[in-house]
């Protein structure tokens, strides 16, 4: 666990840098919408989920109420339900301890921690998430209090960073043929649903693409040696 954790910390640093910048824009937006700076920071510290936070902020900012904001955030968060189930048997301890450990689930850590054989490197996930959490909270504070100093993240092209990071993780995964099929199916399901479902649902539904893993039960996952 110690080595995994340290490796995770190292791997998490670039993600933490991006998380800091993105959460600055959350802090700025939240205060613009009418949150107090403390409320903006509390949101990031307690919810710690970019897509859910931005989604609820957009709804509240547009004059929506608590149920609508909570609903949108829940849909954006729903992919973590699938990720949590996937990671469950790689976590330690009783149900409560595992539920607590599951809070470390964020996209990048979860995906990097996936060993490609159905198990997860738990220490690596914790290590990668730790700096991202710190960056996420500090960035929010900077944005909430120092709003005017931060440029527009979109004008700076920073929204292109997370997809690029995710592609970086994906390319390593895609050496396995079955992972390629899952990726194509997941992507197709998500894009097909975009016009018909609220944001968040397409990504959750993409987990259906992983059902390709049911094929040829008993066979070794193809390409395992490359992992």
């Amino acid at each position: 666990m110690g080595d995994s954790f340290r490796r995770g910390l190292r791997l998490g640093v670039p993600y933490a840098a991006v998380a800091t910048v993105l959460s600055m824009s959350f802090g700025v937006l939240a205060v613009q919408v009418g949150f107090t700076p403390l409320q903006a920071i509390a949101t990031s510290a307690l919810v710690f989920g970019g897509s859910a936070q931005f989604a609820s902020l957009a709804i509240v900012g547009a004059g929506g109420g608590i149920p609508a904001a909570l609903g949108a955030a829940t849909l954006m968060h729903s992919r973590f339900l699938a990720m949590g189930i996937a990671m469950a048997s790689s976590l330690k301890g009783g149900p409560l301890r595992r539920a607590l450990e599951g809070q470390a689930t964020v996209d990048s850590s979860w995906a990097t921690g996936s060993r490609g054989d159905g198990t997860f490197d738990r220490g690596l996930v914790f290590g990668m998430t730790a700096p991202q959490y710190v960056g996420w909270v500090l960035g929010t504070a900077a944005g909430a209090y120092g709003g005017g100093l931060v440029g527009d993240p979109e004008a700076l092209g920073l929204d292109a960073l997370f997809p690029t990071f995710f592609i970086g993780i994906l390319i390593a995964d895609l050496r396995r043929p079955r992972a390629r099929v899952a990726a194509v199916l997941g992507g197709a399901v998500a894009l097909a649903l975009v016009p018909f479902t609220p944001p968040g649902v397409p990504v959750l539904a993409a987990s259906l693409g992983a059902l390709v893993g049911l094929a040829r039960p008993g066979a070794r996952p193809a390409g395992e040696e490359a992992a």
């Binding site: 009418g34 149900p95 092209g157 292109a160 995710f166 975009v194």
Partner: protein, 107 residues
């Protein structure tokens, strides 16, 4: 915003509970036993399925519309660089420069 300061705190509380539940319920209910073989096969390929969906919905949608923008081009350039084994840092730099540059040109 039509919410009062107290209502915002209520929202934050609700979001917190929701987050704890969504991330915690799978580990609490499903963990603690060895996985059947079929489940391992599915979980093994869940990361590529979800990551692809995250990338595509990030760069090819605008709300509920399918739409391409400057970030689509920036990320595509970065993806090509990564496929040609460029370092991640170079790909990120390209993604940001291309995306920001196109937005600047578009005004």
């Amino acid at each position: 915003m039509t919410l009062s300061e107290t209502q915002v705190w209520v929202l934050i509380g609700a979001l917190t509970l929701m987050g704890l539940l969504v991330k915690g319920i799978g580990p609490a209910l499903v963990g603690g036993r060895a996985l059947p073989r079929w489940a391992s096969g599915v979980i093994a390929v869940m990361a590529p399925a979800l990551l692809t969906a995250l990338v595509l919905t990030a760069v090819l949608t605008d709300g509920r519309r399918l739409a391409a923008g400057a970030d689509t081009v920036g990320v595509a350039v970065a993806a090509l660089l990564l496929l040609r084994r460029a370092p991640l840092l170079v790909a990120c730099l390209a993604a940001v420069v291309v995306t920001a540059g196109l937005r600047l040109l578009a005004g």
